[in-house]
């Protein structure tokens, strides 16, 4: 007997609204349709009516989890248009912020994933560790969500106590290696729940345009930090973890390994951060021009296309967030899956509906 189950837009598991309608034959999912837009705020439209200083703050509101990458991407696009040279110290500060944000984002996701698998103590452990990352972000920027670090041409604040950040990151890496990552990657409960579930093949990942850890878990070994490098990533050593099976378990493993790589990147960036200015001066407009800018956000490629007519108000700001690219991959992932696995499969994307809807 076939039947249709509407789930959402308000969920028990996920904090953000979106709707998924699942068609089932018995317990097996045969088709699915998705509905987003419940958080639509018209941020692109707003950005084309505010000056670039105001829009830098606005873009940080695209996402409540990876807020820093959006203001940074917007600034990088404008800096590319204007040919603005960002001081080396500022580039290192941006790298540290971006990687701390990646760690906190991945840990948040890991906690949610643990909860979805029914592993409540693991959820608590993830959020306990994430709190330490939040403390570091707060220590640097003074803020816990919207860090306000980026400005066109550099950053607003320095990392005044790099040694404290370094010690904090080392403690986080130790905790990751000692308990969290082994639990996620070797625990029988996690494996039983996640191996072979929600598979996305490499071909499907490419066809649907999947990005970030979702794509990498399916064998698409792209990371823009390495493959279309920006800031000073090309001067830092790190590996890009890639999966083979494209299932929920591989998405866990890829993110777990990325946590360690981020720690490694931060240690290098802090160790080689040169003295010097934090920005290139006060910049309130850039010359006429246009540029695409892509960066590797925690969830994958964040794509911006900014057009300037030479005034202080951008004439077009296009934002395609990583989750916008990744959510449609739910369709091939859940086809043929057991209905009870649908929440876990959705969760394995690390979806962010706020930034999807903008």
């Amino acid at each position: 007997m076939s039947y249709r189950i509407p789930i959402g837009p308000y969920h028990l598991a996920l904090e953000e609204p979106y709707k998924i309608e699942v068609e089932c034959e018995g317990e097996t999912v045969t088709a699915v349709s998705l509905k987003v837009g419940f958080n639509f705020r018209g941020i692109e439209w707003l950005a084309e009516r505010k000056n670039i200083t105001q829009s830098t703050a606005l873009m940080e509101r695209v996402c409540g989890i990876c807020s820093n990458v959006h203001s940074m991407n917007f600034c990088l696009a404008l800096e590319r248009i204007g040919g603005v040279e960002v001081p080396a110290r500022a580039q290192h500060v941006r790298v540290v912020m971006a990687e701390l944000e990646r760690i906190h984002s991945h840990l948040l996701w890991a906690g949610v994933a643990a909860e979805l698998t029914g592993f409540h103590s693991l959820f608590m452990a993830c959020f306990h560790l994430r709190e330490k990352v939040m403390d570091l972000l707060e220590g640097i920027s003074g803020n816990r969500v919207n860090y306000a670090m980026n400005r066109i041409g550099g950053v607003n604040r320095d990392i005044t106590q790099p040694q404290a950040v370094l010690e904090g990151v080392r403690a986080i890496r130790e905790a990751l290696l000692k308990s969290l990552i082994p639990t996620f990657t070797t625990d029988a409960t996690v494996a039983a729940r996640c191996v072979g579930v929600g598979t996305l093949t490499r071909d499907e990942a490419l066809a649907y345009g999947a990005v970030g850890p979702v794509a990498r878990a399916s064998g698409v070994g792209q990371d823009l930090r390495r493959d279309a490098s920006y800031l000073v990533y090309d001067q830092l050593e790190f590996d890009v973890p890639v999966g083979r099976n494209g299932d929920v378990f591989d998405r866990i493993v890829v993110r777990a390994k990325e946590l360690l790589e981020s720690c490694r990147i931060i240690e290098q960036a802090l160790g080689r951060m040169p003295a010097g200015p934090l920005h290139a001066g006060d910049i309130y407009l850039v010359q006429a021009g246009e540029a695409a800018m892509r960066i590797e956000a925690p969830r994958g490629e964040a794509f911006y296309y900014v057009v300037s007519d030479g005034s202080d108000v951008p004439s077009r700001v296009k934002v395609r967030t990583p989750t916008f690219a990744n959510i449609p991959t739910v369709v091939p992932m859940v086809k043929g899956a057991v209905l009870a696995d649908v929440p876990l499969i959705q969760g394995s994307l690390d979806p962010c509906y706020s930034c999807t809807d903008r």
Partner: protein, 135 residues
């Protein structure tokens, strides 16, 4: 396939910029070129639409091994856009979003339902004047 190999296969005049490679094309070329991108192993990244002098400028962005390849075409007012949905399932949301924001119409799709808007909302919410409110 590398970006260079795909560019070579597609031919035409590619313009190098700081953000990647761009080629101006005729609107009707987009399907053939998007198909070549697909068989070359590229990834569809985004569709950028912007109003310009009563018409629209469209840019389809693809990633080829880290290189950004962009195809740009002018869409005259009132014209329709060839859909690439059958070639790139990932283009579905990009086309529906373009419909929502700029009221673009796509050929070759069974329908183009709203993405960010609700059923029944009028498309083209970004077409208001700079001074106007978001409808």
């Amino acid at each position: 396939m590398t970006g260079e190999a795909i560019r070579s296969r597609l031919g035409g005049l590619w313009l190098s910029r700081a953000d990647g490679w761009h080629q101006g094309i005729e609107l009707l070329q987009v399907r053939a070129m998007a198909g070549e991108m697909r068989s070359g192993g590229a990834r569809f990244a985004a569709l950028t639409v912007r109003p310009t002098d009563g018409a629209f400028k469209l840019a389809w962005h693809f990633d080829a091994a880290g290189e950004l390849l962009t195809l740009e075409a002018r869409l005259p007012a009132g014209a329709t856009v060839p859909s690439i949905l059958d070639l790139w399932p990932g283009a579905d949301w990009a086309e529906r979003e373009a419909r929502d924001y700029y009221a673009l119409r796509f050929d070759g799709r069974a329908d183009t339902p709203p993405l960010m808007l609700r059923d029944g909302d009028a498309p083209g919410v970004f077409l208001d004047s700079k001074e106007g409110a978001l409808s």
